[in-house]
C-alpha cells in the first residue's frame, strides 16, 4: 500500500440558507485505510458523505479522488471514477430480484449496462459475477428473491455485494449497522472486513462503537459540522473533547 491520499477533502464548507452545515473540513484518507466517522446526530456526517459522493455540492472547498479534483463532477461520474457508497436506509431496487440488483452493479462496472441490444441471461458474465459477489456475502441462495422481501440484515449484505460487484476504489458506508438486529452484527462486520481486505479505501459512519473500534485504522470525530479530531481509535476515545461532544459530557 502506498500512503498517498486516495481521498482528500480540502476546507469543505457548506451553508444552506443561513445555516452552517459543514465548516472547514479537511481530511486525507490514504489508500487502503479504513476510517470511522463518528459524532452525535446532526453533526454533519451524512452530509459529508453526500458532499464526497456528489449528492450535495459544497459551498467552498475541494474534493479530490485519487488526486483528481471531482468537486464539480456529477454523481455518476464520481461513481464511474471509483467511488461507491451505501445509504443510511437500505436502498435496493425493491421490485427487482436480488440477482438483478447485484447484476446492475456488475454491469455498471463492466460497461454496457444501458445497452438496448443486450438481454441479460443466466450464465452471462455479469450474472456470473453477480452470483460470485452474492456468494461472498453468503446470500447466493437468495438470488431469485425479490429484494423487497429480504430481511433487513440481508438487504445490508446485498448492498455490500453490489459494492463488491462495482469494485470501487473508495467506499462510503453510511451506518451499515443501523436497524440490524444485534445477532446479525458480527456476520455483517465480517462482510465489511472482507470488503476492505481487497485494499479498498473505506469510510464508515457508524454508531456501534465496538464495530468501529474493531474495524477501523483511524477515527474522525465530527461535531457541529466540524472535524474535532482524527486519530487512532484509542487516542480518540481518550480525548476529553470528544468525550463531551459525543456523550454530552463525561459522566
Amino acid at each position: 500500500m502506498t500512503d498517498h491520499a486516495m481521498l482528500s477533502l480540502e476546507q469543505i464548507g457548506l451553508r444552506i440558507g443561513g445555516a452552517r452545515i459543514l465548516e472547514g473540513v479537511s481530511l486525507d484518507v490514504p489508500a487502503g485505510q479504513m476510517l470511522g466517522v463518528i459524532g452525535p446526530n446532526g453533526a454533519g456526517k451524512t452530509t459529508l458523505f453526500n458532499v464526497v459522493s456528489g449528492v450535495v455540492r459544497p459551498t467552498s472547498g475541494r474534493v479530490l479522488l485519487d488526486g483528481a479534483d471531482v468537486t464539480r463532477e456529477s454523481i455518476h461520474r464520481r461513481a464511474a471514477a471509483g467511488l461507491g457508497r451505501t445509504f443510511q436506509t437500505s436502498s435496493l431496487f425493491p421490485a427487482l430480484s436480488v440477482l438483478e440488483n447485484v447484476r446492475l452493479a456488475a454491469q455498471a462496472h463492466a460497461g454496457g449496462a444501458t445497452s438496448l441490444v443486450r438481454i441479460p441471461r443466466a450464465g452471462d458474465a455479469a450474472s456470473e459475477r453477480a452470483l460470485e459477489c452474492l456468494a461472498e456475502v453468503g446470500l447466493e441462495h437468495r438470488a431469485g428473491a425479490e429484494a423487497s422481501g429480504l430481511a433487513h440484515g440481508e438487504k445490508r449484505k446485498v448492498e455490500i455485494a453490489m459494492l463488491i460487484a462495482a469494485d470501487p476504489k473508495v467506499i462510503l458506508l453510511d451506518e451499515p449497522m443501523a436497524g440490524v438486529a444485534s445477532g446479525d452484527v458480527p456476520a455483517l462486520t465480517e462482510v465489511i472486513r472482507g470488503l476492505h481486505r481487497g485494499g479498498r479505501t473505506v469510510l464508515m459512519v457508524e454508531h456501534h462503537m465496538e464495530v468501529v473500534l474493531g474495524l477501523v485504522d483511524r477515527v474522525a470525530v465530527m461535531h457541529h459540522g466540524e472535524l474535532l479530531a482524527v486519530d487512532t481509535p484509542e487516542a480518540v476515545m481518550a480525548n476529553p473533547t470528544v468525550q463531551s461532544a459525543y456523550l454530552g459530557e463525561a459522566m
Binding site: 440558507g17 443561513g18 445555516a19 452525535p40 446526530n41 446532526g42 453533526a43 443510511q88 423487497s148 451506518e175 449497522m177 443501523a178 436497524g179 440490524v180 438486529a181 444485534s182 445477532g183 454508531h207 456501534h208 462503537m209 465496538e210 464495530v211 473500534l213 457541529h224 484509542e234 476515545m237 481518550a238 476529553p240 470528544v242 468525550q243 463531551s244 459525543y246 456523550l247 454530552g248 459530557e249 463525561a250 459522566m251
Partner: protein
Amino acid sequence: MSEPASEPILVVDALSGRIAGQQVIEDIAFEVPATGVTALLGRNGVGKTSTIKSILGLIERTGDVRLAGERIDALPTHRIVQRGVGYVPEDREVFGQLTVAENLRLAERDAAPRRELVERLFPDLVARRAQRAGTLSGGQQQMVSLARALVNENRLLLVDEPTKGLAPRIVDEVAVALAEAAQTVPILLVEQNLRVVRRLAERVVVLSGGRVVFTGTAVEFLDDEELIHRHLGVHDASEAA
C-alpha cells in the same frame, strides 16, 4: 427515583410500525408514568423516532396504545394531539415561511394558551416575533418547536431529540425548559445526550433491534456501564475517560 405513583399516562402494547410497507418497529411495549420524564434510548436507526411517530399515528401502525386509559391507536393524528399530546419532532420542523408568531399561533389549541410561560422560557422568541422562522438559527428553531408544544395544556409531551446538533449553551437552555415543563406534564423523551438524560429522566426505556430490551430507572441504567455498553455501544468512551 420514585415508582409511578398513579395510573400511567401512556400504555403502549404490541406496537408495530411500517414506513412504505417496511416494518420499522415490532411489538413494542412500555409505559410512561403520569409524572416526570421517561427517556426512550437506543442506537441510531433502532426505531425511537418511529416509535414516537407510531404513537402519534404519523406512520402506519398496529397495536394497543392507551392515553390515560383511552385507546388512541386507531385515531388520526390530529385527534390524538387534541386529546392533549404535545409533539416536538426531530429536526424541529418549524414552518420556515411563517413568522415566529404565526408558528406559535398555529399551535394554540387551548382557549387560554399559555403565552406568558412561553415568553418567560424563551425571551429570545419575543424579540423575534415577526421574523420568519426559516431564518432562525438551529437553536432558535428548537425553541420555536418546544414553544409550540408548551403553549397548550398537555397531558403528555413527546419530545424527539431536542438537543440534536445544538451548541452546548443551547443544550442547557433546552434542558432547563424541559425540566420546567416536566413539573407539570409527563414527557417521553428521545435523547442521545446521556448527560441531558441523566439530568432530566427518571425512567428509561431502551430499544434494540426494533424491540424494548430494558425498562427501569434512569439511575439503574446510567450507572451500569455494562448495560450502556450492551445497548448503546458508547461505553468504551466513558470508560476511557
